[in-house]
Symmetry: C2
Subunit: 250 residues, 2 copies
Amino acid sequence: MAEREVDRSVSQTVKAQLALRDQILSGALRPGERISELQAVETTGASRTPVRMALVRLEEEGLLEAIPSGGFMVKAFSERDISDSIELRGTLEGLAARFAAERGVSARELEPLKECLAAIDELLRQVPISVDAFSSYVTLNARFHAVLTELSRSPPLIRQIDRASALPFASPSGFVMAQSALPEAQQILIIAQEHHRVVIDAIENREGARAEAVMREHARLAVRNLRLALRNRTHLDLLPALALIKTATD
Amino acid sequence: MAEREVDRSVSQTVKAQLALRDQILSGALRPGERISELQAVETTGASRTPVRMALVRLEEEGLLEAIPSGGFMVKAFSERDISDSIELRGTLEGLAARFAAERGVSARELEPLKECLAAIDELLRQVPISVDAFSSYVTLNARFHAVLTELSRSPPLIRQIDRASALPFASPSGFVMAQSALPEAQQILIIAQEHHRVVIDAIENREGARAEAVMREHARLAVRNLRLALRNRTHLDLLPALALIKTATD
DNA sequence: TCCTCCGTTAATGTATACATAACGTATTCA
DNA sequence: TGAATACGTTATGTATACATTAACGGAGGA
C-alpha cells in the first residue's frame, strides 16, 4: 500500500507543478522566456488542464509572471530583489519570534527548538566542518526555523512566512551550502548558531523586542552569505536558482 | 469601443473570481461550507475551467481553504487572525517605510504623498466629519498607503504587501467606515493623519527606524478600530467580510 | 529600403465530456 | 436496534475539442 506509487497517488497538478519548478530552478527554462503550455504538457506528461493549474500556482508562488497578452514567463530576479526577499523573510520571522516571546511559550513547546540547538552544537564541534555536516546543518536549520515560526501560533503569519520562504533563495538555508568551501563559513555558522541560542533565550524570558531584533540580524547573515557567494563564484553551482538571477541588466 | 463590454473584454476567469469573492464576502457562502463547482458555474455564468482557476486564485489569496479530499471551502477567521493580519501588514508597511527612508526618496517622488496628506487635512477640517468625508478618507488613505508602499522600490516587498492587503479586513482602510458613526471616530482619524505626517517627515530626514515604528503604530490603530467595531455592534453592516469572522468557537 | 497591412499560424482561453473517487443511504446481518 | 457493508449518486480531477485572439511573416505600396 505504501509503495512509491507517486505517479498515481499524487495528482497530476502537483506532479506538473513540481516538474515545472524543477525546470525553472535548474535553468531549463530561461527567465523572460514565455512558457509554452504545449511544451510543458510534453515535458511533464500531464494534460493541459493540470499544467495550467500548476502555472497559476507557480505564479502565485512568485516564480512566474503573467504576460498581459496571455500566458506566463519565468521571472528574473536582481541581486537586490533577492536580498530584499531575505530581509523580508527575516522581518516576518522576527515578528513570529516576538509573538512567541510576548504571548508566552511553555517549556515543553520550546523543547524541539532546544533539541535543534543541541544537535547543531554537536555538528559545529568538529573542525573543520565536513560537507556532510553542512548538509545536516541545512536540515536542522530548516527545522529550527519551521518550529520557531509555528511558535508564533499565528496562522496568518505562518502562512506568510511559508510564502516568503517558498522562493528557494529566500529560504533560511538558501545560501549555506554555497559557501561551504569558504574559510569564513565556519565563523558564519557559529554566529548563526549564537543567534539561535539568543532567540530561544529571549523567548524564554519573554523579551519580545530582543527576539525580534536577533531574528532580523539572523537574516542579514543570509544576505551576507548571498553577497559572499556571488563574489566568490567558485561554488556557484551549489546555488539554488542561479539561473533566475539577472546579471547587470539596467 | 470603450463601452462597458465587461462581459466580453474581461476574461471569464476574472469574472468568476470577482463574483465568487463577492459571494464569499457578502456571506452568501458560509465559512466551512464546501463550495460546489457546479453551483459556482450556475451563479457566475462561467464554465467549470475558469471557475476552477478562480478557486485556485482565491485559495492563494487566503479566502478559501483546500479540502484534503478535494475541492475548497470558505475559510473562517478568528478575531485574533484578523488582528494578526493587520499587524502583519503594518510590519510590512513599516519595512517599506524604512526602505524608503534609508534608501532615499527625492522630493519629487514624495510629492504625491504630500498631496494625499493635504487632501486629508482638508477633509478633517470640517467638524463633525460627514459620511461623505469618511468615504473620501477611505479613498485617500488607500492611495497614501499604496504610494508609500511603492516608495520602497522593492518589488518583492510590494508584492507581499499587496498580498497581505488583499484580505479586506486587513487592508489599510478596512475598519474606517465601520466606526464612522462612533464619537471616537474623529479623534482616531486625527491620530492616523498625524502618523501619515510623521512617516513623511521621517522619510524626508532618512530616519528609517522612526518611519518603521510609526507605520507599525499606525496599524495598531486599525486593530483598535477592529476591536471598537466588534464591541459596538451597531454598525457592523459596514464591516467587510463580517460573515467570515467566527464568533466564540473554542 | 522601410513601413504598413493582411493573411496565416499557433498559442491561449473556454467549454464539455469522461473517469475516478468520495460521500451518503439503504439494507442486511449480528 | 445498531453497526457495517455495499451500492448508487454526485462531485471533483483530467483530458480533449473548439474558438478566439495575438504574434509573426510575407507581400505590396510609398
